[in-house]
């Protein structure tokens, strides 16, 4: 390299450094090309396989194999950045124990079978079960990681073809409370804002979510903003100290379940300090209260239906008297001063505030109430549906929005609306071309109850796709024996062997992510399309095609006339019809193929997306005479719900003195079936552990790395102790990540759930810690 060339390179580097100083996150071609990658690589776009952020990725394919991954600089979600899981996701494909052939259990052993034969068996068994025991004896359990086409054909098969509402998905375990919160407050699901809110906000308040590890790329956008703007701060409100707490400007710790009281206390302060946006509340809000003392779903066949009663502002105000900040200090563990500090941030008309939350609020026995309560704060102050100002419910899985919620793979849902609504059933019947009365009008089982029904012998056939319930359900100590019973024929479609495939009668090998074409929808209502990039090994095929093949064998071929090559496109075009209209229109396929992703509602006339819903400045679906129109509700108004504090079902006592909290770490996704098979991720966190506070550990005589028993009324798990490593629980609390199938913490957890959303609480139960 001659001197002149060197000088030019150095000069360019200086300038690029200066630009990065001004505009953090900027990417130049030289950052991500040239020396890093060997020549002859084709780069194709896709959404990431993992969390609900929905980063745009570019997968590098060479000679038919995926050899590299980089962030898509054209994606406005991540602007070229990824996290460690995203960068290495394609490496799980080459795992040695990958499922490539169908396996059928014969005389206690798995026998390799041709896919044709296996699908014949699945269809025959499903039909036989329906003939003998009725439609509601068969069930399907899909996933917030299923693609949109996969969710759609499952729904069409179960509800349109067979005529049963026995369809549920693992999103019941992660986002149900968020959905119930949206529906009870706004009458319509999914956030009203988008990620661009991050660019406009002054204050980010995180409610019980470890965003630095769980939505890392979004969190980096927050950190970015804080670096470049003077007036940005991050507040972490959590029960445990994490990376997020360390990065935040202020970390406030609260007692488990205390969040209910904190939110109400903030509303008390807003009202009593005159920080309520009176005209907003008068024009756009109604007040209601529901039932109290609503139970925890611990009993089989637990049923609950809420009853709304209208109240007025004065009643709501006097209800909040019990939540004056000094009165709830003991309950919440938060000082009155800190509660007032939070309230002052929300109440300051010159500060734009975004609240972020995820599993801390959703996986909660009062999860629906918690979602309502944070919406109350934003509705009282009118800080909603505006750039940088509003509540943002973050989604956990890559397509819990796009598939589970928007396609509606739940017992009570249809692609548009709910099974209990006549008009919605009529629309489904029309698009699916099935007789109207075939679609049943009563929901059957939610996820937890579905597996209880398997245990009781009521469900005799279940087909599980793209999820691992025998690691991810609460109280697996009950549901594993339940699934092992002979009374239920179990079919599992997965890419890898898991504890769930271990109990299957038929295992169908699935194609992984880039081995099929598909669509996902992320937290901010962004739908993303991708094309198949590599071939699946052996006889592995996409889940959607398995469902179609089985449906045809059962005699429903006329309802599933899709082609093998293009079924994902044909299905999406059919599905789109359900959402036509200004409130939910999905972009056409041609646009989705071109762009890195498109937010819905997509307005065909302008080619633009509605970024902020319910605000007539940004949302053409609004009544133009109103400034805000919450059109999900018939009267166009949002609801402020009066919701009290109610204790958790199982609290620490003398016998079980610790709170158990569960969650994830950045390196591992959910049950680890993919990420543990990626060497760099496995080597970073090789196994699970139980985090203890050092003072608690000292009292128990436990040192770092020592094996201990975590014991509850439901079971025991043995884990090595972790002290002062990744996270610091408060005294009297422990934390365990749930990715490890050999250290199965869900044997210990409790299957209590929010009676409204039916979502289990994985964050709170009582345990005892014993040295081995």
């Amino acid at each position: 390299m001659n001197r002149r060339h060197f000088l030019k390179k150095a000069a360019a580097a200086s300038a690029m450094a200066a630009v990065a100083a001004m505009l953090p996150g900027v990417l130049f071609a030289s950052d991500i090309e040239s020396d890093h990658f060997p020549p002859g690589i084709d780069w194709t776009k896709a959404p990431c396989r993992f969390c609900g952020v929905g980063c745009g990725i570019l997968v590098g394919v060479q000679n038919g194999k995926a050899v590299a991954v980089k962030g898509d600089p054209n994606s406005s979600v991540n602007k070229g950045m990824l996290c460690v899981k995203g960068y290495h996701q394609t490496m799980c494909i080459s795992s040695a124990d990958r499922l490539t052939k169908a396996l059928v259990k014969k005389h206690g052993k798995y026998v390799e079978t041709s896919m044709e034969e296996a699908l014949d068996l699945v269809a025959a068994k499903m039909k036989e079960t329906i003939d003998r025991h009725g439609k509601d004896a068969v069930a399907m359990y899909t996933s917030g990681q299923s693609t949109i086409p996969e969710g759609y054909v499952a729904s069409k098969l179960m509800k349109g073809a067979i005529g049963t509402n026995n369809l549920e998905c693992n999103a019941r375990l992660c986002m149900a409370s968020a959905v119930a919160g949206f529906l009870t407050t706004f009458g319509a699901d999914e956030p009203m804002g988008c990620y661009e809110d991050i660019d406009h906000a002054n204050v980010f308040i995180l409610w019980g979510n470890n965003m630095a590890e769980m939505h890392p790329v979004l969190f980096s956008r927050l950190l970015d903003k804080r670096l470049t703007r003077k007036d940005v701060s991050i507040i972490d409100l959590a029960t445990r100290t994490t990376r997020t707490s360390k990065a935040a400007d202020k970390s406030i710790l609260f007692k488990p379940q205390g969040d209910l009281a904190i939110a109400n206390a903030i509303c008390y302060e807003l009202i009593n300090n005159g920080w309520v946006n009176k005209s907003f509340v008068e024009k756009h809000v109604v007040f209601r209260k529901g039932k109290t003392d609503i139970g925890y779903g611990l009993e089989d066949k637990f049923a609950f239906k809420d009853e709304a009663q209208p109240i007025d502002f004065e009643q709501y105000k006097s209800f909040l008297e019990d939540y004056r900040p000094d009165k709830v200090e003991a309950l919440t563990g938060v000082s009155a001063g800190d509660i007032k500090f939070l309230a002052s941030l929300y109440g300051n008309p010159n500060k734009k505030v975004v609240s972020f939350w995820c599993m801390g609020m959703n996986q909660h026995t009062r999860g629906t109430w918690m979602n309502n309560l944070v919406y109350n704060i934003h509705l009282l102050t009118g800080k909603i549906s505006q750039p940088g100002n509003g509540p943002f419910s973050l989604t956990g899985q890559p397509s819990a929005c796009g598939t589970a919620r928007e396609v509606g793979t739940f017992t009570h849902k249809l692609p548009k609306g709910v099974v209990t609504n006549k008009k919605h059933r009529e629309l489904a019947a029309k698009i699916w071309k099935v007789p109207y009365d075939r679609i049943p009008d009563k929901p059957t089982y939610h996820a937890t109850e579905m597996f209880r029904a398997v245990d009781r012998g009521e469900i005799k056939f279940i087909w599980i796709q793209a999820t691992n319930p025998l690691v991810s359900l609460p109280k697996t100590s009950r549901y594993r024996p339940g699934m092992q019973k002979k009374s239920c024929f179990i079919v599992v479609s997965d890419v890898f062997p898991t504890p769930t495939t271990d109990v299957a009668d038929v295992i169908l090998p699935a194609a992984w992510h880039i081995e099929k074409s598909g669509l996902y929808g992320n937290s901010e209502r962004r739908t993303q399309y991708w094309d198949r990039m590599t071939d699946a090994p052996g006889e592995a095929m996409p889940d959607a095609w398995m469902t179609i093949e089985v449906a045809r064998r059962m005699g429903y071929g006329d309802l599933f006339p899709y082609s093998k090559e293009k079924h994902h496109e044909e299905i999406y075009n059919e599905y789109r019809q359900f959402h036509a209209g200004k409130q939910h229109n999905m972009a056409p396929l041609a646009i989705l193929k071109k762009r890195s992703g498109v937010i819905w509602p997509y307005i065909e006339e302008t080619g633009k997306s509605t970024l902020w819903r319910y605000n007539s400045k940004y949302d053409p679906a609004c009544d133009p005479d109103k400034d805000f129109d919450f059109y999900g509700n018939a009267d166009g108004k949002a609801v402020i719900w009066q919701r009290p504090y109610e204790a958790a079902p199982e609290m620490p006592d003398n016998e079980y003195p610790f709170w158990l909290n569960t969650g994830r770490v950045i390196e591992h996704w959910h049950t680890g079936s993919m990420t543990r098979r990626i060497p760099v991720l496995h080597q970073a966190v090789p196994h699970a552990y139980v985090e203890l506070h050092p003072d608690d550990a000292r009292q128990l005589g436990i040192v770092n790395g020592q094996k201990v028993k975590v014991i509850s009324r439901r079971g025991t798990t043995i884990l090595p102790a972790s002290i002062n490593e990744r996270g610091l629980p408060a005294r009297g609390q422990v934390f365990v990540p749930f990715f490890d199938e050999k250290m199965l913490i869900n044997d210990v957890t409790l299957d209590a759930f929010c009676p409204i959303s039916k979502e289990p609480d994985y964050k709170k139960c009582a345990v005892r810690i014993e040295k081995l």
């Binding site: 990065a20 953090p24 990658f37 991954v69 950045m81 990376r243």
Partner: protein, 225 residues
Amino acid sequence: MGRSNVIIGFWIVLLAAAGLIFITSLSEEQSLTGDKAEATGPSGSLPVEEGVFRLSGNAVEFMRLYNSGIQGHMDINGYYSRRAFPGAPPVIPHPVEEFPENMGKYCLQCHGKGGYVAQLSAFAPLTPHADLINCLQCHVPVKTSGTFAASTWIRPAAPETGRQALPGSPPVIPHDLQMRSNCLSCHGGPSAPVEIRVSHPERVNCLQCHVPNEGTSNKNTIWTR
């Protein structure tokens, strides 16, 4: 010898000027250590990860100093020459008051915030563990160059850098994170060894993409059920 052109590298010191102004103003800036409230006391703290967030406000400034043209940047050989073995506490290469009144304050004046020291023609290295203030417990001065008795000690090799799982993926962290909570101390800023400076010090959630992997043989390389 006849007339010869003396080639001088830099004549524009736009950035250098800015850099110099920055350095002198650093001493007026708020202390980077200790002002942020400690989340926990001596009975519990997370040593890892928090330091980089504290330094993050200066990440942007550090980048400007890369090309300031001032001599005295550290290189990786110089870095390791101060350490008996990779991971050992570096010796103190300058005269030091051995019984300072307030050790933390004394050392952290220069090593907490960094800055250029003209007398030594060097940038003061930033400590990766500013929360530990009994500095002389581990860091000692060099008073003589010889040995007391002959020794066969050979310094072990430094860890291999740039190990990536896939082409273009973020390199793993080839060293222990214990006592190293400020990634920017060694990977950003003018005192960082030139060879391991990162191109993106403004992205401070480092552990989002880079995970520890010391590559020692006693770690299982592949997970099996």
